[in-house]
């Protein structure tokens, strides 16, 4: 047995472990549960709340000790749930219950230990004076914005002089660790509070700086958001690094630019949703209960911010009437996009079913222009929604959404019955148009791939080469090419992948022979061609006589680099460069043939 290894017994289980741990740590490793309040694994323990007391029966001076701070020692024998321990915890909890009867965790624990209320003066203060917030602020964050103030009955957690603190950075660590939820940094912080919107959930909930980007992310690993991380901002904290059992956190790591030589590129930059705020009549961004279809999708997702519960964003009530508006921005020449976004009809039909699953007595309405359900089993799906009365479909457009008596009034046309309708709704879901991701045009210019006026990338041929581009070796997949649903994206991605593999699986590359050739007899060697060549294909070729003396330096075109654009041929005054396939005699023959 080495010096560092110790042996102790907890609840009659013998355990061998390393020195330097607390009893709580060792108990945890044995899956023995010890209740705690003022303990947090990231914060140095203080043994303040006395809930975690355990009884030492042998190996040291017997008695009750706090497990969170008492070091595990060789030969200790410990009982974590003896009668004495339970009595002690019960007494502590009874006192705490008198102080903080409103705290949920105290009530729950008190019930567990069978406490009755003592005839004491009730304090109705959720704060149990454990000081965890003070410790985290001082020792972890390093700002010391909160501290204990006052003595005896007046003791409380506050800021120095009880003033609004400009030292507080608003990180919210105090509120995060508080066992009873008693602390609200908004009450004392003069700086704006940090709330990091969870991008994947459309900002419906918040996330921490260290987070897994979304459920089932590949790789399914956390990332550290440097801009919001306390460590990067103040140099303090470092909790994640200390607590990570795998030691995977390295603050020194830098972003890297990795260069790879590749034979093929597949562009799959996806899409963004049309900014529906521009259509003021629908009130998106103005009324919280008007949401986009993607927000709705997250709200009803079991892994979403509400764990699949559907709430109205404004008051958290279940929406009993919901209206879906399709074609928001799509098929709208003025102010929107002229094309059909293709996927909205189908997902709206799905949303009505999801809604019915969540709210059985709810009523859904859908405003649509046309139902476009072309695709395998698509029409049948929509038909099911209609026949099973999942939603009432109204063919027409909505002119205005406005609030009235706590509801949203959706006023629109029902062109089939020929009248105007008004629906008093709890929630409105917009189906915005699909647009290419921002920045895709810059990317296209870098890749020399064409794009249309909407920014969708162009295929080489709409019928015969749908996933290739005009630039050899660059392929398209998904919504960067056009609005597509998941089956389409998968099909196109598979096609693009096999095209790319087809290209790189050969040992030799076949390429167009239409490249430039220099006539060395007439080349002047002025190298103006070199200046206009975008591919650096012009080389300097040295001509020598028999004695080896340099007689001239002429232009030579590297066959591998030349793309055959012909800029050099036009620049050459002595007409010493010809592009194969577009030779001057061929061009002139064409011009002559067209002439009269």
């Amino acid at each position: 047995m080495t010096e560092k290894t110790i042996k102790l017994t907890i609840d009659n289980q013998e355990v061998q472990t390393e020195a330097g741990q607390t009893i709580l740590d060792v108990a945890k490793s044995l899956s023995i549960e010890i209740p705690t309040l003022c303990y947090h694994p990231a914060v140095p323990s203080a043994g303040a709340c006395r809930i975690c007391v355990v009884e030492i029966t042998a190996g040291a001076r017997g008695g009750l000790v706090p497990a969170c701070s008492y070091p595990a020692q060789d030969g200790l024998e410990i009982q974590t749930d003896s009668e004495r321990v339970r009595q002690s915890r019960k007494m502590t909890l009874q006192l705490l219950l008198a102080r903080s009867p409103g705290a949920k965790i105290i009530r729950e624990m008190a019930e567990q230990y069978g406490c009755e209320e003592l005839p004491l003066e009730r304090k109705d203060d959720d704060c149990i004076m454990c000081g965890l917030c003070v410790r985290v602020c001082q020792q972890i964050i390093g700002t010391a914005a909160v501290c204990f103030a006052g003595r005896g009955p007046d003791r409380e957690v506050s800021t120095p002089y009880k003033l609004l603190s400009d030292v507080c950075i608003g990180c919210g660590a105090c509120a995060f660790v508080c066992p009873t939820g008693a602390i609200d940094p908004a009450e004392f912080c003069s700086n704006p509070l940090e709330k990091i919107a969870n991008e994947f959930n459309c900002g419906i909930d918040n996330r921490t700086p260290v987070h897994i980007p979304f459920p089932q992310a590949v790789p399914n690993k956390p990332v550290l958001d440097r801009d919001n991380c306390i460590h990067f901002r103040t140099g303090g904290c470092g909790v994640c690094k200390e607590t990570c059992p795998a030691g995977a956190i390295d603050y020194e790591m830098e972003d890297q630019v990795v260069e790879e030589d590749v034979g093929a590129i597949i562009v799959a930059t996806g899409y963004k949703l049309f900014d529906t705020k521009v259509f003021e009549e629908y009130g998106y961004g103005k009324y919280p209960d008007v949401v986009s279809s993607l927000e709705f999708e997250r709200m009803v997702s079991a892994s979403g911010p509400t764990d699949g519960q559907l709430y109205r964003p404004s008051d958290g009530k279940e929406p009993k009437t919901i209206v879906f508006l399709q074609c928001i921005g799509s098929r709208r020449e003025k102010g929107g996009v002229p094309y059909c976004s293709k996927i909205c009809c189908m997902y709206t039909a799905k949303h009505t079913i999801l809604y019915k699953h969540k709210v059985h007595d709810g009523q859904a309405f859908v405003f649509y222009m046309d139902i476009r359900s072309a695709g395998k089993n698509y029409e049948e799906f929509v038909r099911r929604v209609l026949t099973e009365k999942m939603a009432t479909y109204l063919r027409g457009r909505v002119s205005k959404v406005f609030p009235r008596n706590g509801k949203l009034v959706v006023r629109g046309a029902d062109t089939l019955s020929g009248g105007q309708v008004e629906i008093s709704a709890d929630m409105v879901v917009l189906a915005p148009a699909m647009q290419p991701s921002p920045g895709v045009q810059e990317l296209a210019q870098k890749l020399r791939v064409g794009y249309d006026q909407h920014g969708f990338l162009l295929e080489a041929h709409p019928k015969l080469r749908p996933v290739e581009t005009n630039t050899a070796g660059i392929f398209l997949a998904g919504a960067c090419h056009s609005p597509q649903d998941i089956p389409d994206c998968v099909a196109q991605a598979s096609a693009a992948a096999s095209k790319a593999l087809g290209l790189v699986s050969h040992k030799q590359l076949t390429r167009e022979p239409t490249i430039g050739v220099v006539n060395e007899l007439s080349c002047n060697g002025c190298f103006e061609c070199e200046n206009v060549c975008a591919y650096k294909a012009i080389e300097h070729k040295e001509l020598r006589d028999r004695a080896g003396n340099l007689t001239a330096i002429l232009a030579h075109i590297n066959e591998g680099l030349c793309q055959g654009c012909g800029a050099c041929a036009v620049t050459c005054r002595s007409k010493s460069i010809e592009v194969q396939g577009y030779r001057d005699d061929q061009m002139f023959a064409e011009i002559n043939a067209i002439g009269r």
């Binding site: 296209a444 020399r448 064409g450 162009l458 019928k463 654009c565 012909g566 011009i591 067209i594």
Partner: protein, 154 residues
């Protein structure tokens, strides 16, 4: 039929001849798209495909006039979208300077057009050709040039 009426009917029957140099990647594909989308455009336009608008030597334009073109069009990718990165920028410099030279020599600038038509702009191509054909029709045959071509040797 009076002479005036005869002239008029001759003029309406007369079809201009427009030589168009189209870059392979944008304008040619745009014209192709116009066809594929069943968008019509006048047959007066005769298309010569070139790899890039930067491959169009100004002398090709002059040659086309020499061969009896009533109008010449050079069309390429929009600036920034050139398949060859910068060919259309070179073309823009050269061809606009060339157009000034033609003007200086007394050749009607309206007979030499430059345009940017992308591969997605089938509709633009169709309307552009309609427009310039109508303009060429209105300008009538390039008589001054034709007279020069038939002139006596010096």
């Amino acid at each position: 039929m009076s002479k005036e009426q005869q002239n008029k009917s001759e003029k309406s029957q007369w079809q201009p001849r427009i030589v168009a140099f189209l870059c392979n990647w944008c304008s040619y594909a745009g014209a192709d798209l116009a066809g594929m989308s069943r968008r019509g455009y006048p047959a007066a336009i005769k298309v010569i495909r070139v790899p890039c608008s930067g491959k169009v030597d100004p002398m090709f334009v002059l040659k086309s006039f020499e061969r009896g073109a009533d109008m010449v069009l050079v069309s390429g990718c929009h600036p920034g979208d050139c398949h060859y990165a910068s060919g259309n920028y070179h073309a823009r410099r050269k061809l606009l300077a060339f157009r000034e030279l033609l003007d200086f020599l007394g050749i009607d600038q309206r007979r030499f057009k430059i345009s940017w038509v992308s591969a997605a702009e089938g509709a633009k191509w169709s309307s552009l050709v309609k427009e310039i054909t109508a303009e060429a029709q209105a300008l009538g045959p390039f008589e001054t040039f034709a007279t020069m071509l038939q002139g006596e040797p010096s």
